[in-house]
């Protein structure tokens, strides 16, 4: 730990020199995309593996990195924000091209695919899909760590299970209020009695199917997720309610349920990529409800 802190200070000093004297011979060469990836490889606390979805979606490992944007999902708007901030390396937790595997073979003639790809190329962006390894971070899933911090729940984390939280006693309605307040969530949905007493919560940020969702619901008063299909875990929660069981399911929406995990990712990267700016760029909640219409998507390229 001591050695790491020393390295960090030394590196930050070096970066300070660059900032103070731009363009001088003291300026260190910017890292390439591959340099950044190499540094990430050894720092998740788990072996780097192949076969998952993580990969360079588009761009080049040899591209010099001017700055890093971490985003929840590489939406077109997120890419525009990265360009506006002059951050040419985009690290995204969710896909760029609209499927989990980010496969593009079916999209070769898709006009939006061509347009987004051209935009990425024209602005010299490289996009890295950072899903599996960030969830696989040890000792705690990087998304979970960032969301726990965003909710202010660190001290309530169960000692045996980092997804479980033993909260001060509240009701389901009170818990839901915390999500509205801290995440600004306007389209969350809830199944369960608003008066349900709540102490123990499990959070499975992001997508959650019947497994592990059903066992999670058995272990807690409330299960917090991003999204599930209406005919799997949501149907189970509805059946629990019909059976009169004191349980609840909260659906935050996928983006809002995970995106501050990518704020933590920016903090994590800053430690070992001190030469260039690293910023978390939040994206907008995709939806609105008829009672509270808003329009936040930028329509200009």
């Amino acid at each position: 730990m001591h050695g790491k802190a020393w390295d960090r200070r030394g590196a930050i000093t070096a970066a300070g020199v660059v900032l103070a004297m731009p363009g001088t011979s003291l300026a260190v060469a910017p890292p390439t995309v591959q340099d950044v990836l190499d540094r990430m490889h050894g720092r998740t606390g788990a072996p780097w593996f192949t076969g998952g979805v993580d990969h360079i979606v588009t761009g080049s490992p040899d591209a010099p990195v001017a700055g890093i944007a971490t985003v929840m999902m590489a939406t077109f708007d997120a890419l525009k924000a990265a360009v506006a901030h002059r951050l040419n390396f985009v690290i995204t937790h969710e896909p760029t091209f609209w499927s989990h595997q980010d496969r593009t073979d079916q999209l070769q003639d898709d006009p939006l695919y061509r347009r987004k790809l051209t935009y990425i190329g024209d602005h010299g962006l490289t996009v890295f899909y950072f899903h599996d390894h960030w969830h696989g971070k040890k000792p705690i899933d990087g998304i979970n760590q960032g969301m726990t911090h965003k909710m202010g729940w660190q001290r309530y984390t169960d000692t045996d299970n980092s997804r479980a939280f033993n909260l001060p006693a509240t009701t389901l309605k009170g818990l839901v209020g915390q999500f509205r307040e801290k995440l600004g969530d306007r389209t969350l949905r809830v199944i369960g009695d608003p008066a349900l007493p709540v102490k123990r919560v499990i959070a499975s940020w992001g997508n959650c199917s019947s497994f592990p969702g059903i066992p999670y619901l058995d272990m807690a008063d409330v299960l917090i997720i991003g999204e599930a299909q209406d005919w799997d875990l949501i149907a189970y929660a509805n059946d629990l309610a019909a059976a009169g069981r004191p349980k609840a399911l909260v659906l935050l929406g996928h983006v809002l349920s995970e995106q501050w995990g990518m704020e933590y990712c920016a903090d994590w990267l800053r430690d070992f990529v001190p030469e260039v700016p690293v910023r978390f760029l939040p994206i907008t909640e995709p939806y609105w409800t008829p009672a509270a219409p808003v329009f936040e998507i930028g329509t200009k390229i």
């Binding site: 999902m73 939406t75 077109f76 708007d77 525009k80 969710e94 896909p95 609209w98 499927s99 989990h100 079916q106 898709d110 006009p111 939006l112 347009r115 987004k116 389209t187 969350l188 949905r189 809830v190 199944i191 997508n207 199917s209 497994f211 059903i214 066992p215 058995d218 991003g226 999204e227 299909q229 209406d230 005919w231 799997d232 875990l233 149907a235 189970y236 509805n238 059946d239 629990l240 309610a241 019909a242 059976a243 069981r245 929406g253 996928h254 983006v255 995709p286 939806y287 609105w288 409800t289 008829p290 009672a291 219409p293 808003v294 329009f295 998507i297 930028g298 329509t299 200009k300 390229i301």
Partner: protein
């Protein structure tokens, strides 16, 4: 494309034994598959998901999803054949692995056994009808005229917000979710009830419709796609009604259709989506 094959014709052999007993669930299911007008499928998730298909049918309950509430209401009515669009055991294929010791599973299983229920998942074949049984049911419920083909409807010009508010009131659900500019002018709507899968929904969004009205859609698939279309300047939108709300009118229509196919009593049994926000 689904290959079309004529429904099998039962040979009227004078030597065949005449059926004299009460009609079984299996016979009703065979009748449904013969009459539904869907082509041959090499694979399907339509299946008997619970119960003994040789059970004599006392009545048919049609429902969007074989929820605990729907099974109870079917049993209360004395209807023991449950025809459902969505599965009763919380996965697309009613996979029971890991559920043997689950209390809720046991509750549903015991209800099905005690009341001699048979659950038939009618999903693919109801959608393979021409027109799609769910789309037609939804159009009827909304008072929209079916197009000659496909599922894109011309409606009286309105705004996205007005359309969404009307739908929210009609289905009694304030949690429906909308992507797009609330002021968007809307006159063509594509109906995509149920699960709006990635590539079919992308095709609908690239067609003439201003808005796609869907049930459920993964947030990292077409929900991202429509946001990106809008971010690239296209005037498009998407409304997510929720799976159950989007499927219910089509299964109500299925109940009406079944009344014309069999003399057995048929009832539509609702399952409310159950969300609050």
């Amino acid at each position: 494309m689904v290959e079309s094959k004529p429904a099998p014709v039962r040979p009227a052999s004078p030597f065949a034994p005449r059926h004299t007993g009460p009609i079984t669930a299996l016979q009703v299911i065979q009748l449904v598959l013969e009459k539904v007008g869907a082509g041959y499928r090499s694979s399907t998730i339509d299946h008997v998901s619970a119960g003994d298909p040789l059970t004599a049918v006392t009545g048919i309950a049609v429902t969007p999803i074989a929820s605990l509430a729907a099974l109870r209401r079917a049993a209360e009515r004395g209807h023991n054949l449950v025809v459902t669009y969505d599965p009763g055991f919380w996965s697309t294929s009613d996979n029971l692995d890991g559920l043997e010791d689950n209390a809720l599973f046991q509750m549903k299983r015991d209800l099905i056994r005690d009341r001699h229920l048979v659950v038939f998942n009618l999903h693919d074949h109801w959608r393979d009808r021409i027109p799609d049984g769910l789309v037609q049911g939804m159009a009827q419920a909304l008072g929209w005229t079916m197009p000659a083909e496909g599922a894109v409807f011309d409606i009286a010009p309105t705004s996205l917000l007005t359309l969404a508010r009307g739908l929210s009131i009609r289905i009694g659900d304030s949690t429906i979710r909308v992507v797009g500019d609330p002021r968007l002018a809307v006159s063509r709507v594509a109906l995509a009830p149920g699960n709006a899968a990635q590539m079919p929904t992308i095709a609908l969004l690239n067609g003439p419709a201003d808005v796609v009205l869907a049930g459920y859609c993964r947030e990292w698939e077409a929900v991202e796609y429509v946001q990106d279309m809008i971010a690239a300047g296209a005037r498009k939108a998407m409304i997510l009604l929720g799976e159950i709300a989007s499927v219910s009118p089509g299964m109500k229509a299925c109940a009406e259709w079944l009344k014309g196919v069999t003399d057995i009593p048929v009832t539509y049994v609702d399952t409310p989506p159950g969300y609050w926000s």
